[in-house]
């Protein structure tokens, strides 16, 4: 089912589909709802871009000493050359304290010099007050937002190489504040620097903050990532995209991947976030159905809400209603399914298994990680039985499952976590250096743990 909500050219295209439409009268049927959205074209590059009100928040804790901080400073100077004269830039650094080095400076010639002069002397200090630093950056952007041009895009880019260890550290609270600021028009993206940062905290902020999470393992990648993020921000054509599912009583939703899902008594809300122009995002929701009467239908309604970044306008579209129907177990088993849709489900499911198991593993819950990966692997195997193109994924999950009982080293864990996050969001990896495929990382880990 395709819905284009308004005749305006700048509206996204949506598709709402179920992998199978019959559900078992006896209950416990699992079906997958696939929400696909394709963002409208970005504005032509020869047209003036919307002005940007950007806040750059740089981690200046002790662990950033040397190449990482030098690279972050160099990247900031490179960024200055790429921003337009009508853009405003704030620079905030944090350690155990927070320093605002530049407050919404307009980037004319004099402004660029001022910002450059403020960045060069930046030196490392001590702890990682990530929350306070991020709030400081948001404050600088919000102050400009309150007084500035209504067409400006208000965006914060947070760079950090570590775990927040001072101030608010809980991912769920960081996500809460990021979501509140997003609702008020200030979006946040994050860049994890080096090998030992906390992807869980940075993901929480970026995901709820309507931005993107990036990884810059090597110092030279910081500039590449920052410039790519700048391009992504300017190419965003859909912001704060949120779906609402109206679910019949007893239907239980669960999201595959990292997309935030909030339940209430009559359904759930799913925050898809920002989309670049022409980008396609797929969200897979696993639905577990209760039992019911033969022939009875269970209508599921879907609504989308989003903002257009150029004018901040909120838009709403009633997309479609899918209507699964109760039937016998035999009829359910015999019903055909769309292979293309099943493949999308399998890809998202695979990323979900990697991501969730690795999150549990890094959280110290290794037995839970093993139980989760083993159980999901078994179901995954059955789901993919007629998908030859997914058999490599099936083998990979079988190899992966027994390894999660071991404490993964942070570098491999971060890589698996990040790659599965990117896959589940359909986002490109902006790093220029080639990395091993996720399957190769798992093969290596399995080899190590067999020997140990």
């Amino acid at each position: 089912m395709i819905a284009s909500p308004s005749p305006q050219a700048a509206s996204p295209e949506f598709r709402v589909e179920l992998d199978r439409s019959l559900v078992n009268v006896e209950g416990r049927s699992v079906r997958h709802l696939v929400l696909t959205v394709r963002a409208p074209e970005p504005p032509p590059t020869d047209r003036p871009r919307d002005p940007l009100n950007l806040g750059l928040v740089i981690d200046a804790s002790g662990s950033m000493a040397g190449r990482p901080l030098d690279a972050a400073k160099a990247a900031t100077l490179a960024l200055l050359d790429r921003l337009a004269d009508d853009n405003h830039l704030s620079i905030v650094s944090f350690a155990s304290d927070v320093i605002t080095h530049a407050q919404a400076v307009q980037l004319d010639a004099a402004g660029r010099s001022r910002v450059a002069a403020a960045v060069r002397p930046l030196v490392p200090r001590d702890n990682t007050a990530l929350f306070d630093g991020w709030v400081g950056g948001c404050q600088a952007v919000a102050t400009r937002q309150a007084a500035g041009d209504v067409t400006e895009r208000n965006h914060v880019l947070l760079l950090s190489d570590g775990h927040a260890n001072q101030g608010e550290c809980r991912p769920e609270r960081l996500a809460h504040h990021a979501a509140e600021l997003r609702k008020r028009g200030v979006l946040t993206s994050t860049v994890g620097i080096g090998r030992s940062y906390s992807p869980i905290q940075l993901q929480a902020i970026a995901e709820a903050g309507g931005g993107r999470m990036h990884d810059a393992e090597e110092p030279h990648e910081i500039a590449e990532i920052m410039l790519a993020e700048l391009n992504d921000t300017l190419a965003t054509t859909v912001e704060s995209l949120e779906f609402t599912l109206r679910l019949p009583r007893g239907v239980e939703p669960e999201i595959y991947g990292t997309t935030p899902l909030t339940r209430d008594a009559e359904g759930c809300d799913i925050l898809a976030g920002s989309l670049l122009g022409n980008a396609t995002r797929r969200i897979v929701v696993k639905l577990t159905f209760p039992g019911g009467q033969m022939g009875e239908t269970l209508p599921i309604g879907v609504t989308a809400r989003w903002k257009t970044p150029c004018d901040g306008r909120e838009q709403t579209a009633e997309l479609a209603t899918v209507t699964p129907r109760f039937d016998t177990a035999a009829a359910c088993l015999a019903q055909p399914r769309c292979r293309e849709l099943a493949k999308i489900v399998a890809e998202q499911w695979q990323a979900h298994i990697y991501h969730r198991a690795m999150q549990l593993n890094q959280d110290g819950q290794r037995e839970a990680a093993l139980a989760f990966a083993t159980r999901e692997g078994r179901y995954y195997d059955r789901y993919c039985f007629d998908l030859p193109e997914m058999q490599a994924a099936v083998s990979s999950i079988h190899a992966f499952s027994p390894t999660v009982i071991h404490a993964y080293d942070p570098v491999t864990a971060k890589e698996v976590f990040l790659r599965s996050h990117k896959t589940s969001r359909g986002e490109a990896d902006r790093r220029s250096s080639k990395r091993a495929e996720i399957e190769e990382l798992i093969r290596q880990a399995a080899g190590r743990y067999r020997q140990s």
């Binding site: 702890n127 990682t128 948001c138 208000n154 260890n165 600021l181 008594a265 901040g312 819950q365």
Partner: protein, 211 residues
């Protein structure tokens, strides 16, 4: 139909405005529309709920990119007669939106700054709780985990506290400023029970205790 009475069921409100019951409930939770005076299926909403819903729809249709927070502020400024006039169509919605005094109240561009200001005022208390160095925190983890396991054993639970970190939070807004957060996976009947508790709390918070 609506002219003959001053109290309405949720379904009557939905029929009169074309707004789904689920959406009306969320407007009540967000403080945009007055809630019912009683609990349960037969709960009755006052006339003001209908008027506010109608005006809310008009504000959304006006296509000014207003957020719900901004709409709440606008609704708060309207007196009963103005609200009724707008709902009846005797007053044009544009007249409200174009009032300079009212436009000055719109928090759109300063909402983030205000939110951060509030956050800052709360900062010292939570910083005192969470300020620690990486080393001391990691050193204390095994002790905390053992304590959590001991508590779980005493409580007859099969897993310790860290086990719940992977479980989802269920958030139930009670008023614009108060939210009930409960962690866990809930069966539909448990969710319904939770909502009944939420309804009772909301009623208590907005209408006060019954005599």
């Amino acid at each position: 139909m609506e002219a003959e009475t001053d109290i309405f069921t949720l379904q009557e409100l939905a029929d009169a405005t074309g707004v789904e019951p689920r959406t009306i409930r969320s407007y009540v939770e967000k403080g945009l529309v007055p809630g019912p005076d009683s609990l349960g299926r037969g709960a009755k909403y006052p006339r003001e709920s209908l008027d506010r819903l109608k005006v809310l729809q008009l504000l959304r249709d006006a296509n000014r990119g207003l957020t719900l927070d901004q709409i709440r502020l606008l609704l708060k400024r309207l007196g009963p007669s103005e609200l009724r006039g707008l709902a009846d169509g005797r007053i044009r919605i544009a007249a409200v939106l174009d009032t300079d005094a009212l436009a000055g109240e719109l928090p759109s561009r300063s909402a983030a700054a205000e939110y951060l200001r509030t956050l800052r005022t709360q900062a010292p208390a939570h910083q005192a709780v969470h300020m620690h160095t990486s080393g001391s925190w990691e050193d204390s983890l095994p002790v905390l985990e053992e304590a959590a396991r001991a508590l779980a054993r005493l409580a007859g639970l099969s897993s310790a506290s860290r086990g719940v970190r992977g479980e989802p939070w269920y958030r139930l807004p009670l008023t614009p400023d108060i939210e009930l957060s409960v962690r866990g996976n809930f069966a539909p009947e448990e969710l319904a029970q939770l909502h009944r508790i939420g309804d009772a709390l909301r009623l208590l918070l907005t209408k006060g205790p019954r005599a």
